[in-house]
């Protein structure tokens, strides 16, 4: 195989390799010139203002030198950048000293876009971008080609991909979609009563953080010293006399009123935020996939194609979970908004979530699943590390503070150990029906369900402690999200990894998107 590989150092271009348009070197040069224009102009003005023309004789060659070098580099770059549109992939090789060769198989190219910025447009050049599933930053691009060549390359890529029916069918559906939208089936909607309940569970004292921020603002801009002890002492002296004067009944009453005020403010904040975000929440199933609309002031309308859903996540809180309220979100190759997971049912009961999960092609966790827990050694190490920190803190407290204070870090250590021990019971995972399911969390329980066939890669990671103690963390490559199972026995990690890899091998990525 080594014989067929092309030689590393390419002085001359091998057959089939092509360079970008020679003018692109000029475009790069001009682009750099425009970038340098402002500093040059400023430099020129200051020199002429100072009237020291003698300096110009010194500076002019320097500027010319810098320009020359940057043009030389641009030219070398152009010389060393070649591309080949081969039988099965597009390949770009570049680099003056370091060499980089990127190969993108036609099957993986989702779209080819032509982009024209101002300066390349003056020269009649285009930039070609090849979009693959691999997120925005690591795309392949070719700058610059002549317009005809760009179009030709785009046609070529599209022609090479025609065997792939799945992607092309997507376009056809898009056009048929307009009239099909009317038969949308409502999957989930929230009325005002549901929203109100939801808002009350979203109880938040965030407003006090805002007030704190405002206070800090007042401090720095209005000259009120928040941390000045005298200010507070005077204030409290005033209040104290007043409070003492009221008698014990009134003091208790005051405390009750204060707590009630907090409750009202917290609930009002939660309600306001929920109403603003989720007003008129409606999730529908259309021919294009899931469609979600929500919002009071800014109304958003998001469409998620069914096949783009990579995993589903069910989360709840410790209090709302007791009442059976759960939130469902989809992890997807989100290209429509900033966040990668979409909430599709923020506040719903299990029986409402089930049909949505099924339509997305997933199965809700069944009763007969073979649940596995994390390794007990992981539990021990985790508790030892977290409580150990508190125990360490107890030493200086015991030495320097009055004796009763030692109880505080000791109690914290015991509390943390108990909480972790209890939380461990909720950390579990299972395989079942082509899915992998992972659940964790005590305060905010969360269950993630992924289809094994839709995962991208598998990694078993071990830190120094984990290696000695025989457990590992399993990272599963999920498009648009993360799927991690921590602290499982190494054998179990291998078994999961084998199961996932066996499922992945059944289908190619291009059949999934």
């Amino acid at each position: 195989m080594n014989e067929t590989a092309e030689p590393a150092q390419m002085a001359a271009m091998p057959a089939g390799h092509r360079r970008t348009d020679p003018l692109s070197f000029a475009v790069n040069g001009v682009t750099q010139l425009t970038r340098m224009a402002v500093p040059l102009a400023i430099g020129a003005v200051t020199i002429f203002n100072d009237g020291e023309l003698g300096k110009l004789l010194l500076i002019a060659p320097m500027v010319l030198g810098v320009l020359g070098v940057s043009f030389l580099i641009a030219w070398l770059r152009w010389l060393r950048l070649t591309y080949v549109a081969g039988a099965s992939d597009i390949r770009v090789e570049s680099g003056i000293v370091s060499r980089a060769a990127r190969s993108v198989p036609y099957e993986r190219i989702q779209d080819v876009s032509l982009e024209q910025k101002l300066i390349p447009r003056l020269f009649g050049l285009v930039e070609l971008r090849f979009e693959t599933g691999a997120g925005g930053k690591d795309e392949l691009k070719l700058a610059y080609l002549s317009r005809d060549e760009g179009e030709a390359l785009r046609r070529l890529v599209r022609a090479r991909r025609t065997g792939e029916a799945v992607v092309d069918a997507g376009g056809a559906v898009d056009e048929a979609d307009e009239d099909a939208d009317e038969q949308a089936q409502v999957l989930f909607a929230m009325d005002r009563q549901r929203l109100t309940t939801f808002g009350l569970f979203e109880f938040s004292l965030a407003v006090f953080a805002v007030l704190g921020g405002a206070a800090q603002y007042a401090e720095s801009f209005m000259g009120i010293e928040m941390w000045d002890p005298d200010l507070w002492r005077r204030l409290f002296a005033l209040q104290e006399e007043w409070i003492l004067g009221l008698g014990p009944m009134a003091q208790v009453l005051g405390a009750v009123v204060a707590v009630l005020t907090l409750l009202v403010i917290g609930s009002a904040t939660g309600l306001a935020r929920t109403f603003l975000r989720d007003w008129g929440f409606i999730l529908e199933r259309t021919s294009r996939g899931f469609r979600r609309r929500r919002g009071l002031l800014t109304r958003t309308d998001v469409v998620m194609p069914l096949h783009r859903v990579q995993a589903v996540s069910i989360s709840t809180g410790i209090v709302r979970g007791r009442f059976g309220w759960k939130s469902l979100s989809f992890v997807s190759l989100a290209q429509d908004s900033g966040s990668s997971s979409h909430v599709v049912a923020p506040f719903a009961q299990d029986e409402e979530l089930e049909p949505i999960i099924r339509i997305a092609g997933f199965a809700p966790p069944a009763d007969g699943l073979d649940w596995h827990r994390a390794s007990t050694r992981y539990r021990f190490d985790g508790i030892a590390l977290k409580s150990g920190a508190f125990l360490l803190a107890a030493i200086p407290v015991a030495l320097f503070a009055p004796t009763p204070f030692v109880i505080v870090p000791l109690a914290l250590a015991a509390g943390s150990a108990a909480a972790n021990l209890y939380a461990w019971r909720f950390r579990r995972h299972a395989l079942g029906g082509g899915q992998i399911i992972s659940a964790s969390g005590l305060l905010a329980p969360r269950t993630q369900i992924a289809q094994r066939v839709k995962l991208q890669s598998v990694e078993i990671a071990q830190g120094p402690i984990a290696r000695r103690r025989g457990y590992a963390t399993l990272h599963l490559g999920l498009a648009g999200g993360t799927f991690t199972i921590r602290g499982i026995a190494l054998e179990r990690a291998r078994a999961l990894s084998d199961a996932v890899l066996a499922s992945i091998a059944e289908r190619d990525f291009s059949e999934l998107t």
Binding site: G95, E459, G463, F509
Partner: protein
Amino acid sequence: MENDPASGPVGTDDALTSLHPNHVKVLRIKAALAAIPFVIASLVLEGTDRLPPGLVFGPVALLALLAIVRVPLRRHHARGYAMGDDRLRVVRGILLRSDSVVPFGRVQHIDVNQGPLERYYGLAALTVHTAGTHNASVHLPGLEQGLARAMREEIRAHIRRETL
């Protein structure tokens, strides 16, 4: 050093292929380049005569020696890969061990990169990109350049075969 527990594979016990011996040289040169500023700085400190002689330079030189001689060898032994029928497995890390498997059917695109040092020693790094957020790109350095290209061709051929 071959029997070092750190160099044992994390995942399944398939035989791992180790990287090209020149990889150690490249790692050593890179470590040496990174150590130079520290050694120079410690020498400068030494020259000021404010501290007892050797107090700074001694430890720095020792650390530099360790980083140049021992660490690259350990890193080299900790790394390995296995090219399966339908997947690439990459094992790496001394302290933080990781064992990644990328099925060919999930590879988005493939890079073969060579820095100046790698070119001098005839090495190349293979990087496969996936659509996942975690392990978006799995990096395998220290391959003989012809081999890196051959591996790229194999992975690419596999993608094509699976799709057709």
